[in-house]
């Protein structure tokens, strides 16, 4: 009996349109039911807001409330811990018709989700350059390196990193530098360089090619070739040092 009662109760928590309506079968106070329904929707929407503050700033509070509200109703969480809730919001944003002319919005949202992931990812050692240096050239060439568990790459055909960066704080929009969308593509690295900090960095074309090739499980040699074809002056030794400092790459077992 309790099982059925909860199913009836739950079915109306997210979809009720009229404020204060309660399911007929339950014969419970409509106003009281409305408080639970409202708490449910508002708390889940806030969970999305907390993960996507820049996306919210870009579209404005009212627009975001409507968009996140639809997301919550169509993609409610499956777990009682919300650190993983909202992972598919960027894809939702991409197909949300009222935002169709904001092509970059999805990519900014992806940067924001990558930050959440980086913050919550398990602790794991990063790539050790001395171990890399011990490999003979042939082994290095064929080495498969993974991104660090906290690291993600976000490729955008738009200057998504610049857009994300200038909207870090609430403030007067007129004070913000205008981002020229013609700047074109940007690849952003999101990682956790030190224990208590998430880093967000714009990658140069060589680094972007190098890391995205590795992320596709191609070997080290192929990644280097990809980097050089984007940037003929790509200085692998110095770039590797920076990427290791940003903890972009995982340790490997030879």
């Amino acid at each position: 009996m309790l099982l059925q009662l909860q199913r009836t109760f739950a079915a109306h928590l997210l979809e009720g349109k009229v404020k204060g309506a309660s399911p007929d079968k339950l014969r419970v106070d409509a106003l009281g039911f409305g408080i639970h329904a409202n708490n449910t929707r508002v708390s889940l929407r806030r969970a999305v807001e907390n993960a996507y503050p820049v996306t919210r700033r870009l579209v404005g509070a009212d627009f975001f409330t409507a968009m996140a509200g639809q997301f919550v109703a169509s993609h409610p969480p499956n777990h009682g811990w919300l650190s993983a809730y909202g992972a598919d919001f960027a894809d939702f944003v991409a197909q949300y018709q009222p935002a169709a002319d904001l092509g970059y919005l999805r990519d900014v949202a992806r940067i924001e989700w990558a930050r959440v992931r980086a913050a919550n990812a398990p602790d794991a050692p990063g790539l050790d350059l001395t171990a890399l240096a011990r490999l003979d050239p042939e082994a290095l060439d064929g080495l498969l390196l993974n991104l660090h568990v906290a690291a993600s790459l976000v490729y955008s055909p738009f200057p998504a990193f610049d857009i994300w960066r200038v909207h870090q704080h609430d403030g007067d929009d007129e004070q913000l530098p205008q981002i020229d969308l013609a700047i074109g593509r940007q690849t952003t690295l999101i990682s956790r360089p030190v224990a208590l900090e998430v880093g967000v960095a714009l990658l140069g074309p060589g680094d972007a090619a190098f890391l995205s090739t590795l992320a596709q499980h191609s070997p080290f040699g192929a990644a280097y070739q990809a980097a050089v074809s984007e940037d003929t002056d790509y200085d692998l030794a110095s770039r590797l040092g920076d990427l290791v400092r940003m903890r972009a790459l995982a340790t490997f077992t030879a």
Binding site: L3, H36, T40, H79, W81, S83, P122
Partner: protein, 299 residues
């Protein structure tokens, strides 16, 4: 017979645990993200005896939040307060949820572990809200089974919090205080008395708060929560809403004093987790609770 035995064991465990920690007469506050750095400050650590965390905020084992909590737990006793285990689910507990709770408990060795008399999950969906239960024998069986499983997995007893009520079910066959008391007898769990919730349920549902306090067995109350609420509902049907987003009201302070007079001093926690104010505001609320508790100790 068996339940009596369990109950005695539980009371013994609670008293022993709190005495070892020295928390039995002290006030804690909820740990909020915006205050974490303050608790890691070596030179001027905030003057608070213990801290309570929302369990589910630390369910990722690793990462920044977990690391911060581990560091803070080295300096302050921690109470773990779950909000999403859904003890009222006839479908049973989510095993992964229980495992993550057990990992957190293993990691921070909390002085107290608590959950709610509520459900928040149905089928595959989690609703992030403490939803109400009809108070029946069937519900008592279900919640008891879920508490047994939780306590078995954690290897310790938990405290179960009274809800803030907005509606009642026609199906209910017993009062809230009777239901909670029977739950403690069945499972050996203790109770977390949320004085604000009790006040809200008194206002919204007509629960007689004095009767509630006189009927509950004093020795099962292992912790008290204090929080703020707001006015809602309509002009015809005003309701109080539990927001954890404001100062404790004068009426709730009065009910807290009445509760302590009846129960004796209990570890008390200021719960303020939306529109979180400065740490100083929380510490002032805690100091006020401590003054009330100290008067009870002297009397």
């Amino acid at each position: 017979m068996e339940s009596n035995h369990k109950n005695q064991r539980a009371v013994h465990e609670r008293v022993r645990g709190l005495t070892i920690m020295g928390l039995e007469n002290s006030v804690g506050i909820g740990l909020r993200t915006s205050h974490c750095e303050r608790f890691l400050d070596q030179n001027t650590p905030p003057p608070v005896i213990w801290l309570e965390v929302l369990a589910e905020n630390y369910f990722d084992r690793g990462g920044i939040r977990h690391k911060m909590l581990s560091m803070i737990a080295e300096r302050y006793p921690i109470s773990v307060h779950g909000v999403a285990l859904s003890l009222g689910s006839p479908e049973g507990l989510d095993s992964e949820h229980l495992e993550r709770l057990a990992s957190l408990v293993a990691d921070v060795s909390p002085c107290l572990v608590s959950e709610h008399l509520a459900w928040s999950r149905s089928g595959e969906v989690y609703y992030n809200e403490l939803l109400p239960l009809p108070l029946t024998d069937e519900t008592l069986d279900i919640v008891s089974a879920n508490i047994d499983r939780t306590q078995d997995r954690l290897g310790r007893t938990i405290l179960v919090e009274n809800p803030s009520g907005y509606l009642q079910f026609e199906q209910s066959t017993m009062s809230e205080v009777t239901f909670l008391t029977r739950l403690t007898e069945r499972t050996g769990c203790g109770l977390l008395l949320d004085v604000n919730n009790l006040f809200i349920s008194g206002f919204n549902l007509g629960i007689d708060t004095a009767e509630w306090l006189s009927m509950v067995p004093a020795d099962v109350i292992g912790e008290i929560h204090l929080a703020g609420h707001e006015h809602g509902g309509t002009a015809d049907q005003p309701l109080l809403i539990d927001t954890h987003g404001a100062a404790v009201t004068e009426e709730v302070w009065a009910l807290y004093a009445a509760a302590l007079n009846r129960l004796g001093p209990r570890p008390t926690m200021i719960e303020w987790d939306s529109d979180v104010p400065s740490l100083e505001v929380l510490l002032e609320e805690a100091a006020r609770a401590q003054r009330i508790m100290d008067r009870v100790l002297v009397a």
